[in-house]
């Protein structure tokens, strides 16, 4: 499963599809906009349902990227790590609910995929991660803390899967459990994972 280009034709074409424009994601301490989107063809899911627990929102361009694994498959493997730390993981793209259902079944995904379908890309726009030229969202991550505020956001180049979520989510945990923590996160900071309770 590649994180960057290989010699394969379909993946090269996939990378070339998307413009290099970047958008600014909502910064930390912003109130995370609530939303209600389809999680299955006949069910809806709202961000506010998760108030009281942290949520990792993973925006991604599209289902069915031409690789044997991808950003959603990667997070699917890591799901237990997120759940062990009390967080929920949600994927969002502009694909419709039926597309998501087929994709989730094919990749055996065990977390919700939300359809930012109508109005198209509305939620991605509100989070500052919509690619207007391409009509899809960026590969972007948001850690929303239990109070509904953005704790951390990150936009990855579209050809590179963000592997960072666990690292920064752990940092969120450190800051929440350490009442004296006054540090602001800087890009090169490394969380001290030994402070995290757990195996």
């Amino acid at each position: 499963m590649p994180s960057t280009s290989t010699k394969s034709e379909p993946e090269h074409a996939y990378k070339e599809m998307y413009s290099k424009s970047r958008r600014s994601a909502l910064p930390p301490k912003t109130e995370a906009p609530d939303f209600t989107l389809r999680s299955t063809p006949d069910q809806w899911l709202s961000l506010s349902e998760f108030r009281g627990q942290p949520v990792v929102l993973a925006f991604y361009p599209a289902d069915w990227s031409p690789v044997c694994g991808d950003q959603m498959a990667l997070y699917n493997e890591m799901l237990k790590e997120f759940h062990d730390l009390g967080a929920e993981l949600i994927g969002i793209s502009v694909d419709g609910a039926w597309c998501h259902a087929a994709f989730a079944r094919d990749r055996k995904l065990h977390f919700p995929l939300l359809a930012d379908f109508e109005p198209k890309g509305d939620i991605a726009r509100r989070y500052g991660v919509y690619r207007y030229k391409d009509g899809v969202s960026e590969r972007a991550l948001f850690v929303i803390d239990a109070d509904g505020k953005v704790y951390w956001s990150f936009v990855s180049p579209v050809g590179v899967n963000p592997g960072e979520p666990m690292e920064f989510f752990l940092r969120w945990r450190i800051c929440k459990t350490n009442k004296q923590c006054r540090q602001r996160w800087r890009p090169n900071d490394q969380p001290n994972v030994s402070q995290i309770a757990g195996p």
Partner: protein, 179 residues
Amino acid sequence: MISRMYLKLPDPERDHFQGTIDAPIALLEYGDYECPFCGEVQPIVKEIQRRLGDDLCFAFRHFPLTNVHPHAEHAAEAAEAAAEQSSFWAMHETLFANQDALDDEALAEYAAALGLSEVRLIQEVISGAHAKRIQEDFRSGVRAGVNGTPCFFINGQRYDGERALEPLLAALSYPATIT
């Protein structure tokens, strides 16, 4: 459990590595034996090792994508079981050379072909004797920021460039300082 210091660098106490641990350039790979992209990069890694010689320490950790690669977990455990019989790297190469045949029966055949005790190897795989080790590797990868397979860390920094010989050699020739 891999300490924070060694999430992105070879751990001399626990990792499988080739070359000397204090070589100037450390290349750490997180990989999946059933991932075709990991298979494709193997000859490139070998060539890098040939060219850099004693300047390179290469280490491998397991990052099986079990939901999309059903045999990856057992293949990783077979490699660890082979390690118990002092044959990690031989099994590692065999697995990558036979990515389309990684079922348990095939794993036993590979053990036999390598002169190992196939009964012992398969028993260990089936009983999950090495599952904890694989999980430790995987968790360290998650914390390190592995974003796909194969995932390379050069002197502790994740490599996001093209997985071809020349770009990798270029990155290895100008390694970032260990952070």
